[in-house]
Amino acid sequence: TVGAVAIDKDGNLAAATTTGGMTAKAAGRVGDSPLIGAATYAENGVCAVSATGHGEYFIRVGVAKTICDRVKLAGETIEQASETALGEVAELGGDGGVIVIGADGTFAFVFNSEGMYRGVVDPSGARTAIYGDD
């Protein structure tokens, strides 16, 4: 899976996620990538999320929408909301991660897998990371 979230000069948020899955997956198996609310969600004034991981668990938790709702309704930070949602994924037996941008432009990488290919860029420059302890 790959994905991106962004905030533009006007404060608009957007998210995109594409493909993913496991080798030799059953034909017709659909993971979380195309499911709005599981892997992808964006709402101005709240946050934008793209997820990657064991899709069935992300679908069952509704990870992306859960994160945005916890930010919107419970007033949690994007990190708190992401950790809660991924905690639910872990409780069910899944792993993976999310990238999130908040309405104020703050961002978070949150994952419970060993690593996640990831990066961020803004006017101050670009940074990338791969491993969990990067």
């Binding site: 790959v2 533009d8 995109a16 594409t18 493909t19 993913g20 964006a42 432009g105 990831r118 990338t128």
Partner: protein, 169 residues
């Protein structure tokens, strides 16, 4: 608050220093930087967040290092089935495609569903047909083939067992 910002991921999983050569690490880093720059170029020039996320995803769909588009994992039926979704936070408009086999860049198809139909998701042959009708680049399913993914498929089918490394987000 930053003037603009873009964040990307290229998948999560069993990614450790022990399992990564310096050459592979450099290749992934370069690919991530390419994707970041593609999206940053949009935002730097005043473009929308929506255009930026699409621009950032396309290079990763075109790079066989990632499990998306060209180089995506194969199904047990030895085909490639691709999915994508996109969402615009302004009006919570969204589009998605599932199980497409001929759209070169599924994220473009997802955006076409969002902007050029009254629907949110198309799947299977209907999604391919819709994308073709919208003038998107179409390819034979074999376009997505890479030797690396073929070898992984053969190993899994032979052993009838997936390792953690066979899950790619």
């Amino acid at each position: 608050m930053p003037e603009w910002r873009l964040v990307i991921h290229g998948g999560a999983g069993v990614i450790t220093r022990d399992g990564m050569s310096p050459e592979m690490e450099a290749a992934y880093t370069a690919a991530l930087e390419t994707a970041l720059e593609a999206g940053a170029d949009v935002l730097r020039s005043g473009g929308s967040a929506l255009d930026a996320v699409e621009a950032a995803v396309i290079p990763m769909e075109d790079d066989p290092l990632f499990n998306a588009g060209y180089g995506a994992v194969m199904t047990a039926s030895q085909e490639h089935e691709l999915d994508a979704s996109i969402m615009d936070g302004r009006e919570r408009n969204a589009g998605a495609v599932a199980g497409v086999k001929r759209v070169r860049n599924p994220v473009k198809a997802a955006r076409a569903v969002m902007e050029r139909s009254e629907h949110v998701m198309f799947s299977g042959d209907g999604a391919d047909t819709f994308a073709e009708g919208q003038g998107l680049d179409m390819v034979d399913n074999s376009y997505f083939y890479t030797e690396r993914r073929q070898n992984a498929l053969e190993r899994v089918l032979k052993n009838r067992q997936r390792t953690a490394e066979d899950r790619h987000g």
